[in-house]
Amino acid sequence: MQDSGFRKNQLGLMGWLSGGRYGVERYAYTLHRLTGLAILAYFLLHILVSSSRALGEGAWNTVMGYLDSPVFRVGEFLVYLAFAYHALNGIRLVATELGFFLGVPRQPVFPYSNSVKRQRPVLIVVMVVAAIIVILGGVDFLRAFPGE
């Protein structure tokens, strides 16, 4: 409220990136947003690119030729990384936002436990699975790279 002389103290977008020394879930949230935006940007282009198959072989081959450079291949792999993180973290979010793995409400007794701490093993498990998916995809990516 500027007219009353109070000073604005919103963290703004910095509040998404840092804002303090919090647990990993707060940064998992920011990464989930970034990967989501990256995947969305890729997806919108992907719809246009893959719809070119309806315009015949000529159009298809022109588009595919344009995308065959190393820049696009690496970009695709980065999107794949983003997808692996987003999908696995998304599984955790669907489960926890529907109340699973959070325990039950209980009278707070110091030192307090909380649902975020209780669901941390789920975060670890999904990240391990995401890492496996990244490695599998990495193998496939490296196979396709040389000699193309």
């Binding site: 947003r33 989501g36 935006l37 995947i39 969305l40 997806f43 919108l44 719809i47 246009l48 893959s50 719809s51 070119s52 198959r53 309806a54 072989e57 298809w60 081959n61 595919m64 997808f83 999908a87 998304g90 599984i91 669907v94 936002e97 529907l98 995809g137 496939d140």
Partner: protein, 123 residues
């Protein structure tokens, strides 16, 4: 006991689950096909693409995946934009633009899939 936001969010979760399954299948075909011999040769060659396109199952999977992914992604984008402290009028404008973009992209993608299916399957 529902509000408009709760319905939109519920569909966001359901779309996420649908994408998990269908995109998994898509990834399998596009990247792990030759491990398991499901696809012969280059998966991105036009002939290979057309070979898959005449299958009704592919058409259905792709149209569903397209719809779910567009809904999920654009709802996410809307959520991010709405949390950036914009005015109520800006919120209405953004919502409308997102719906229009979603419908347009869906039509483009669905046309791409169905037209090819129609041509190849001799419908």
């Amino acid at each position: 006991m529902r509000t408009r936001e709760s319905t939109l969010w519920t569909w966001h979760l359901i779309a996420g689950a649908v994408i998990l399954v269908l995109l998994g299948i898509h990834m399998f075909i596009m990247h792990l096909g030759d491990f398991f011999g499901t696809v012969n040769g280059d998966v991105l060659a036009f002939s290979s693409v057309m070979e898959r396109s005449k299958d009704a199952a592919f058409a259905v999977i792709y149209v569903l995946l397209l719809g779910a992914a567009l809904y999920h992604g654009l709802y996410g984008l809307r959520t991010i934009i709405f949390e950036l402290n914009i005015s109520e009028r800006a919120e209405r404008v953004v919502s409308t633009l997102i719906v229009l973009a979603g419908v347009a992209l869906f039509l483009i993608g669905a046309y791409g899939t169905i037209a090819v299916y129609g041509a190849r399957a001799g419908v």
